[in-house]
């Protein structure tokens, strides 16, 4: 790894900045079960950070800790140089941490457009009474401005043609894309993607990879993603954290991690004689 305080230059020549989020000795227990044990790593500005590991390694739990859905039993989360106290998930979302879910959590009864517009809620400041005024109080302008941002994201993710479709009717791959759009609409500082390509066919995976790379490139969004497909991870990510049974067994650039014996063992299994 290059100089840790100044950031580093990636293989394809992107400048990665300083630490945005730092996780220190995170431990998460559910009763007697330890899902995460003393894991520390950092997330840097503008990088694509992957968390990989076999099933049940605690990857999703880690993401839930970052997004506040789980409160760690031990350890500290530092965000933008400030230690984060215990917060509700919605408060963390308002800080600028958006996420998608492994099992897609969309608002099925609402149109694609409305779904993505909910991503803008944290940016809309007009109160209820001001909104009743609509044109007179500037609420209409606020709505239009946010709508414009959403339209740009819709264009970016190439979902113009399903704009008005109720989300419940969409096929799986498109739902995943809408969920990404909603998270993106919040213009997050950190974007958390929980298995964005799970259950997709090759073509859909390629599309999704392209979107992830493009949005990192265009908007400079910092991305943390969980993925099973090793090929995808190696192509996409700048740095990788490897987890197994709740412990961190590797951390570094994709190439370093790939040649790490512990990682190879965790993935391929070790002969026990």
């Amino acid at each position: 790894m290059k100089d840790m305080n100044e950031g580093y230059l990636t293989a394809d020549g992107r400048q990665i900045g300083g630490v945005v989020m730092e996780l220190k000795d995170i431990t998460l227990r559910f009763g007697g079960l330890t899902a995460i044990e003393k894991i520390s790593f950092d997330i840097r500005d503008g990088e694509i950070r992957a968390i990989i590991g076999p099933n049940g390694a605690g990857k999703s739990s880690m993401l839930n800790v970052i997004s506040g859905f789980y409160v760690p039993s031990d350890g500290e989360v530092w965000f933008k140089g400030v230690r984060r106290g215990p917060m509700k998930p919605y408060e963390i979302a308002r800080l600028g941490i958006a996420r998608t879910f492994q099992n897609i959590a969309l608002f099925d009864g609402m149109s694609v457009l409305d779904n993505i517009m909910t991503g803008r809620l944290t940016h809309m400041k007009k109160g209820l009474i001001a909104q009743a005024g609509w044109w007179f109080t500037g609420a209409a302008r606020e709505e239009y401005e946010n709508r414009e941002k959403v339209e740009r994201i819709i264009d970016f993710l190439e979902i113009q043609n399903i704009r008005k479709t109720p989300v419940g009717r969409l096929p799986y791959g498109l739902k995943k894309r809408v969920e990404l759009a909603r998270a993106l609409a919040a213009e997050p500082k950190i974007l958390l993607l929980d298995e964005p390509m799970a259950g997709m066919n090759v073509e859909e995976k390629e599309d999704m990879c392209r979107f992830v790379l493009d949005l990192n490139d265009e908007f400079g969004t910092t991305i943390v993603l969980i993925e099973h497909d090793m090929g995808v991870v190696m192509d996409l990510s700048d740095r990788v954290v490897v987890m197994d049974y709740g412990k961190k067994i590797g951390d570094g650039a994709p190439d370093e991690v790939r040649n790490n014996q512990a990682v190879v063992d965790a993935y391929l299994g070790v002969a026990h004689d």
Binding site: Y90, R99, D108, M110, T118, L121, K126, A132, R182
Partner: protein
Amino acid sequence: MPDQLLYAMEVTLNGLMAGVLYALVALGFVLIFKASGIFNYAQGVLALFAALTLVGIQEGQVPFAHLINAITGGHLTHFGWQVPAVIAIVLTAGVMVLLAIVIEKLVLKHLVSQAPIILFMATIGLAYFLEGFGDVMWGSDIKTLDVGLPQGINDTIETTTANWFGYGFFIDNLDIVATVVAVLLVTALTLFSQFSKQGRALRAVADDHQAALSVGISLRFIWVLVWSIAGFVALVAGIMWGSKSGVQFSLSLIALKALPVLMLGGFTSIPGAIVGGLIIGVGEKLFEFSIGPMIGGATENWFAYVLALVFLVFRPQGLFGERIIERV
């Protein structure tokens, strides 16, 4: 025009008006059900409580007078002032918001992500508690509610129709007011839910709690908001029904009339509540008018339920309810 047809027209009109009143109650149910999946058994009692509070404030009653007198041995009943209707309504709306906050703090907060049946049981408890609380707070005697709404037969309609058809229609002024108010209320609620950001958040919470949290929506705020709106709708229903038939315990039973309306219109649709209310109102009046005399009358008590049952067989989600699709 033949007399029978004229009668039928009058009955239909009256049915429509009655239907609006049913719809007003059903609306409160739909709002809470849409936003939180809770069938709020307490909605009827909420209307009773709102009406009691409104009368109490208007008449300058001392809240908890019985309790205070029992402890201090005094004879307090009234402050001795009259509050104008408009101010009393605003104050009562404030009380309903306060009540929403208390309900969220004491009940809903502790039942997050519980099964719907448990939340339903909680609202049953809430209903009986509120009923008793209302009694303790304002006394259990029958009260008359008068916020200055016009009452009695509308003369203009009577004379006009008498001129046209040779038969004057009897339409109650209060029913006309109720219709206008209901139309305004539904328009406002629809605009709110479709176009405001809180409305969008509300629909989001109704669909998926986790996803709502992930976009920065506070569930607790939305619940307080929804219960406040339901409280406000209950207040409107309480005013209409209270002006019509006095404020007393039986007011809370209007909730039972809302049930078939909901089955007909669908639990999740605001327009459904309105159309369902109108169908039930007109259906029950016309049935009583046409078939009633043949089978000894009093059909209004059960007709709505039978109609709802028939609907349940053919369209379980109601007229406007979301279709229940299970992907296999």
